[in-house]
Amino acid sequence: MNLQFLVDGLLTGSIVGLGAIGVTLTYSILRFSNFAHGEFLAWGAYAALVAAGVLGWLAGGDVAAIAPFSFGWTLILASVIAMVFTGLLALTLDWLLFRHLRRRANAITAVMASFGAAMALRSLLEFIFTSSPAYFSRKLQIAQKLGLGIRATPDQMVLIAATAVLVTAIHLVVTRTQVGRSMRAVSENPDLARVAGIDVGRIVAITWMIGGGLACFAGIMVGLLVQIRPYMGLDLLLPLFAAAILGGIGSIPGALIGGLIVGLAEALAVQTVGAEWRSAVAFVLLIAMLLVRPSGLMGGKS
């Protein structure tokens, strides 16, 4: 058996997992499925592309890549800028749309509105950047042999490491800090959180910033490993939800594990049954999980 699927699976899994953390947080704290979350990946990737371009221009043209990677310091800085931008974009969408629906309408209205928002955001990207793909770099990377028949490029390895760092950081914030405690409290019982002195509006804002920021990073990963397209978020939407449900709604480690399962299963399916079955895998896993254990792997609440 060829173990190469492990690298491909880990990469797809990291992308899906990072996106799923936002889905799971939004669901548990704001109580609705945000189908516009995929668009944050696409907007995040384009934001990083623009920011890297501007930074490169400010630095006076072509910025050399940091060996052995395909990207230079401009993309690293641009990623941070884009993550903040995408967080603010999520916050703005909430401010313009979801905030009002939370107050007046039921959850299903917010879900439908998120479909509409997704279409608008996607079309706007297509309008601005056209539907032809864009790339952070056209530099070719040579995959290195890691043993056991596994090969990975330096970009792939650093992205997996970066995902691990990001997820650990977010996990520590949620489990060890006052902000995290407040997030868990708002997710469990918003009214009780209010009388415990928690500014629920502030926690909602932090949730959007974290969800948007991580989605942006996932989008940048897609951009580095594949390409940037306005439809990249839509393509990942189902795996994102499958991962969030698989891991258990509300659980951050669950979302990442769910993402890794989806990613590895997809990669294994490509290798064993054929690439045309790839997209079906998330569906099958999702349905199986809902039938066997609807609360997910790490879900406390059903």
């Binding site: 006052q178 405690r181 407040s182 868990r184 409290a185 469990e188 019982n189 009214d191 009780l192 209010r194 009388v195 415990a196 002195g197 928690i198 500014d199 629920v200 406390g300 609440k301």
Partner: protein
């Protein structure tokens, strides 16, 4: 004595145009235990929840220590020193006992948090023994204890409780009221809504009786206890025993 909490002509309700509290008033003096009684559907819970900022107020005024607080959101009221313990789901069941308390301590300066936590563990020894346990796994009485400790964590001026004895066994009800007397002794003013009128009057200084969202009667706890007409109407009737002095 100066009045610490004053509610004047409060009108409030969940839906616009459907008031449940229709002009109720209440004055609470510093260091008192005041109980709010009344038949089912009298608006007692809505009254106390709107003071706590959880039910929208339509009109009326609420002052705490002389300053108007009726426009403040629920989380700001805690900062002002007004704590509230809801009737049900009053602890974070998925979080540990200690996390429940630390969460509440979030509004205190960092240097004071550990001290306050120790003070609560000293006051409620049962909680200290189970600090790592998820609050959802506590018994009914211990949950109520945690809910009160959570509210006291921030050293409030006034603590309001919505039916703290609901769903508890008679022995635990007794314990809850003993705890509340201790809370008052620690210098916190107590306001509670109760169905268990007899037990509440036994520790209260004064009582307000609400009916249909308005004040129906008010007076010293002993007075209400001994008034046969009131007892028959609002206190579940039955034989009237004398109010035990020791409990007060």
């Amino acid at each position: 004595m100066s009045s610490i909490l004053a509610v004047t002509d409060l009108v409030s309700g969940y839906e616009p145009g459907v008031p449940i509290v229709r002009g109720a008033s209440m004055t609470v003096e510093k260091g008192e235990i005041v109980v709010i009684l009344g038949p089912n559907g009298a608006g007692k819970s809505t009254f106390i929840k709107s003071i706590a900022g959880l039910v929208p107020k339509v009109s009326g005024s609420v002052t705490l220590g002389g300053s108007e607080i009726s426009a403040l959101p629920a989380h700001r009221l805690v900062h002002e020193g007004l704590a509230f313990v809801p009737q049900t789901e009053n602890v974070f069941a998925l979080m540990s006992v200690e996390d429940n308390l630390l969460l509440a301590a979030g509004i205190l300066p960092k240097s004071e948090r550990a001290g306050r936590l120790d003070a609560m563990y000293e006051m409620f020894a049962d909680l200290a023994r189970q600090k790592r346990l998820n609050a959802g796994r506590l018994s009914g009485g211990q949950r109520q204890m945690l809910a009160v400790a959570r509210a006291l964590m921030v050293n409030p001026r006034v603590i309001m409780l919505d039916e703290p004895s609901a769903g508890l066994s008679p022995k635990l009800v007794e314990q809850v009221f003993i705890d509340l007397s201790a809370v008052r002794k620690a210098g916190v003013t107590v306001v509670l809504v109760e169905q268990n009128a007899r037990a509440a009057l036994a520790i209260a200084d004064r009582a307000y009786i609400l009916a249909e969202g308005r004040n129906a009667h008010e007076g010293a706890a002993g007075e209400l206890w001994n008034d046969p007409a009131i007892a028959a109407l609002y206190l579940g009737g039955g034989k009237i025993k004398s109010q035990p002095e020791a409990a007060r």
